[in-house]
Symmetry: C2
Subunit: 334 residues, 2 copies
Amino acid sequence: MPELRLNLVTKEWVIIATERAKRPEDFKISREKKETPSFVDTCPFCPGNESKTPDEVFRVSDGNQWKIRVVPNKFAALNRDIERIRTNDGYRHTVSGFGVHDVLVETPVHNMATALLPLDHVAMIIRAYLKRFAELYSDPRIGHVIIFKNHGAGAGTSLEHPHSQIIGTPVTPFQIRDRVEEAIRFFDLTGECLICKTIAEEKKDSTRIILETGHFISFIPYASLSPFHTWIFPKRHAATFSEITETEIVDLALNLKTTLAKFYYGLNNPDFNYVIRSNRTKDARLEHSHWYISIVPRLSMTAGFEMGSGMYINTAMPEASAEFMRKVKVPQQP
Amino acid sequence: MPELRLNLVTKEWVIIATERAKRPEDFKISREKKETPSFVDTCPFCPGNESKTPDEVFRVSDGNQWKIRVVPNKFAALNRDIERIRTNDGYRHTVSGFGVHDVLVETPVHNMATALLPLDHVAMIIRAYLKRFAELYSDPRIGHVIIFKNHGAGAGTSLEHPHSQIIGTPVTPFQIRDRVEEAIRFFDLTGECLICKTIAEEKKDSTRIILETGHFISFIPYASLSPFHTWIFPKRHAATFSEITETEIVDLALNLKTTLAKFYYGLNNPDFNYVIRSNRTKDARLEHSHWYISIVPRLSMTAGFEMGSGMYINTAMPEASAEFMRKVKVPQQP
């Protein structure tokens, strides 16, 4: 029997379509194993091709070789060198395209994946996110910062070399405000942070948890919007990513890498997006709102129904998907 | 210089990414012309295979041959034969999967397209939508009805035979409420229906109009969310699709068919979704809210940025796309 579940965080109804449901293993990607080389001469992110990117914002180095580079996106959606100008004639509301659009090259190795990187390298990436997050918000013209990764062509990237993107927009998106408003409503009704409450409920239930580490918990939400849609929540209440401590960074590296490795081995390296959903640095210490990471493997497609309603049809049972993920064995690595 | 534009109807910011912008003709689909037969023996929607679908809800016939069939979806996301039961333990909010999920087979001809159908056949489809829309809303357990079409594999359909879907859900989606709320805010500020205001502004500006017929106007919104994202608005204020008159149905058939034919010929039959966005029948005569049709050709992909922010990056200038569409010649047909 199908069931509708309400995602309290996104305020979206999800139809868990049991009549169409697939087994977790049915989501395994069956594509050919393609051998990708570790270096590609024409790749702008491979070592030796540094001149093919705009001038570096910063790099993380270890002796002679860089480990991570942050560079302006050559095909930036926003322009950091113009004024932020708002206009409004009562109908047309515009802002000039001021903003920052960086690329974070995650590793010199072309055919690497987060799932396969050493733990300390994943921690380095998180530290680089954090540095750039703080820098962007130090500019009062930036309304919101979005840190995200598109992995694979099906997740919207054309460049294979592992990279993330950091975009600072000149406005705060309405969707962000809406979700904070919903969190405030929940707080006003219950006196609890909705995310803290979610963590408590998910731990009590335990059927949807993928991995709990010292400071983070990854799980498939009760009303996950799509198959294997996964959240990683910091267990300590914190409104913004900028509040993360060094101990928590190391633990997040472990949780993120292991969760992605479970996708990599369990579902055969599916395309995915992840995004850090956080309030602004100046919203630190808000009691009702809590930052987190959302991971969306591209295992299904949204169509007219989702577009027209903002509801979702999910053909995977969250509990069965989580059980499958818990059982995926990840080889030990440095 | 990139520019951010606010879509007042969806309340989403769109980055019109001029630095990445493509010319309208660059969006033309370059796939191989595949010859599809007009009849496929294994297709459940082809004539002679009527027994492969669940029992018909109704059909539109012309003598012996049916023209349109409405049947329950064999792989329905919702179940029309169960009770609607809501539960809520303060955290888990559920509704049993009661609801209606129909398929509307648009024509007996397997390789047909809306763009190529005779006008009176398109009008017949709209009348069938309207009939089912009213029937579904006559059940007080139905919270919302979504009528949509997925055309092509890239738009989420696995069945090639032309069909639409009609889903009646047991709840009213939050996204629908949110947009109505925004429309009310606009009405309270200005005393005008936002859609009526949009029509007036788009007619005054005229650069984004694709086609104006007697009762409808199709155009690329000022802040269109994706390349060639198109809206068809009824020019007369009406809160719900159920208020459409017979004269307006005939005119909508002309506008919808011609607009889709411009996609078909101008962009080489792209995959697309369309959806009728309407209030419920009982919301008829609301002064602040106005039904319409949204068409989304699948010419780009959303990724981490859109997921994480609810903002969009559009690489097509709405004005250039509309100019291109206006110029597309559509062969005369019956």
